[in-house]
Symmetry: C2
Subunit: 373 residues, 2 copies
């Protein structure tokens, strides 16, 4: 199977880009109004632009939906251009992925119950796009069957503790496995056991199912939240939408799709859950930290420094990530640092400790430095 | 003896500020057009402004002379204000301290042969100004005697390898020692021997002598260079000055005062050299590197970080020097770094290796990045 057959988009496939994250992990580049998904962290286009471009061979532009927040509405409108503006939903408050995905399911269930929805985190990297499209096309076909839930699993290349894992069970057919259970981010020992076991895959956060399947799953597993979402969906296209959204969405449970629907479903036992995993290697990376970005971008040359600068001079320095696009940079005798200079803020940390940038953001919230958030 | 007696300046004392250095060691803050001596590295005033202010209790403003270069002429004119502009001499080429000091000696010898000249590096720190003025006033008195050369010595507090040392001999009177010899920067073992011996002092680079004494010493020890300097001095105040300066100064020997005059003189034996050292502790520091500036400025608080920034957040980070005055700075898990952000350039190094910043400047010269030099 090659990527070519997908050049003509499938009118029945609706990608939903989950773009509500606040993206504190890339501070000081990421801010409320320019979270990770709208940053060009890797290349010229932003993460969400790349996510959309990557999917355009499979779905027409007018099928895309985006769930985001009011901080990002304006910049997403600029970046995503020709998408129908009413298909960008701004959550009045953040409620994680289950209510966001559920709302789109209820909206589409009314008009296109047979539509296949794809849930896509809007800030991940995929390097092998052909393989990605192949896997996805296969998944869309499987998801078109009532009740099926498809998740894309990534074969682990290391005992990563930053990802959730999917434990797979029996083969249904070539390249299709039943899902036994979803697991949270493991500790180092568990992660090593997972990789050694061979049947654990990284959870890419990419899910496929029919609008009707997801809507039914919401009614079953989120029985308190589902009616709120249905009321919001009923107000869609009317003058009441904004008020209804603002009133009811905050009442929805703050929970991820994995926790709300997939974990309870998988406890039915793999033969009855109808959750299937497509394992693939399409160069996926969720870029969860400055260190992950460094690892994604480093080449083998120049002492493995990743330098985004006007120009640079490096003397006895290795393994550094530096973002300071307007500067000439001199690195002398320093290793494994992360240095990010945005003109108003300067972060200096190590690759090892760069995940603690979230603590800086917490501090800035406490002291109400709004302009740096 | 207190500082009070010196509040009325001595009309016969002429401070000469040696401000021709290019100051590569504080790159990227220091550039050709804003070398270390014109930077406010420590406090609100520049190093040379502080040097001048420190001396004003001892000499009227119109007695000051400054030797510098054309890159710094304009900014020095702004910083030093009311000084007579003709007493700022711009070397057409750098020739180290001997020709610079000699030229002033020949100039003053013509009009005020009994004047006492003081040679002062324009980029050093003195923290105990009262003690400094006391020592200097004592030195001026001694230097008023024909043939005497006075040098201020600093009692070493550590086996520093970055300074020259003065080996002292017999006591002449209380707090006045004969000089046995001047030594270059020692290696670690020698430096430790010097400190253990007890009669070695740091060479502050501050010398006092009559104009006539210095002029005679130049004629004796720099016999080829002295006539050029005398011709330039003769052209002073005439329209020929600039052309004569430009023609003859490059022919002068490129040599320091210590090498040219003091070392040869000291070989006459301490009883005949007429070189005397006044030992004192006046909190002197030549601020030779970012690490030296860090050590000068660090307090005991805030984990010993020295941070010049708009605001900061520090998490598990110690011993860092950061200059980024327009930034909010976050330091997470990094120790002993030097980070200097000037908007157009960013230096990242360690305190241990910060002396290698000179190599960055050499690189910039090679690739002709004039705007960063």
């Amino acid at each position: 199977m090659s990527a070519k057959p997908f050049k003509s988009p499938n009118d029945n496939f609706y990608p939903v880009l989950l773009a509500g994250g606040s993206g504190t992990r890339f501070w000081p580049r990421s801010r409320r109004a320019r979270a990770k998904q709208v940053l060009p962290l890797d290349g010229e286009q932003s993460m969400i632009q790349q996510t959309m471009e990557r999917l355009l061979p499979l779905a027409p532009r007018e099928n895309f939906w985006v769930i985001t927040n009011s901080h990002l509405e304006e910049i997403l409108g600029q970046q995503l251009g020709k998408m129908p503006p009413v298909q960008m939903l701004c959550e009045p408050v953040a409620r994680n992925t289950a209510p966001a995905a559920g709302l789109v399911a209820f909206l589409l269930e009314r008009e296109a119950p047979e539509a296949v929805l794809g849930m896509f985190p809007a800030d991940h990297v995929v390097t092998d796009e052909e393989r990605f499209l192949e896997t996805l096309a296969h998944g869309i076909k499987l998801a078109a069957e009532d009740g099926n839930i498809i998740v894309l699993g990534v074969r682990p290349t290391r005992p990563e503790v930053g990802y959730g894992y999917i434990e797979t069970g029996t083969h249904v057919e070539d390249e299709v496995l039943r899902v036994r259970r979803f697991t949270e981010k493991p500790n180092q020992t568990r992660a090593e056991e997972f990789v050694a076991a061979g049947n654990f895959l990284w959870n890419s956060g990419i899910f496929l199912w029919k609008a009707k399947t997801l809507a039914d799953a919401m009614r079953e597993h989120l029985s308190e939240t589902a009616p709120y979402l249905e009321q919001i969906a009923a107000a869609y296209g009317t003058p009441e939408l904004e008020a209804t959204f603002a009133e009811l969405y905050p009442k929805c449970e703050n929970i991820s799709l994995d926790y709300a629907v997939l974990e309870p479903r998988s406890t039915k036992g793999e033969r009855h859950s109808n959750i299937f995993c497509l394992p693939a290697d399409f160069g996926w990376n969720d870029l969860g930290s400055w260190a992950a970005l460094y690892e994604h971008q480093r080449g083998t040359a120049t002492g493995s420094n990743v330098l985004q600068s006007a120009d640079s001079y490096v003397l006895r320095a290795e393994g550094n990530y530096v973002y300071a696009p307007d500067h000439f940079i001199a690195l002398v005798g320093v290793d494994d640092l992360v240095v990010v200079d945005t003109g108003d803020a300067l972060l200096i940390t190590t690759r090892q400790q760069s995940q603690d940038v979230g603590k800086v953001v917490r501090h800035l919230k406490q002291i109400r430095r709004e302009e740096l958030l």
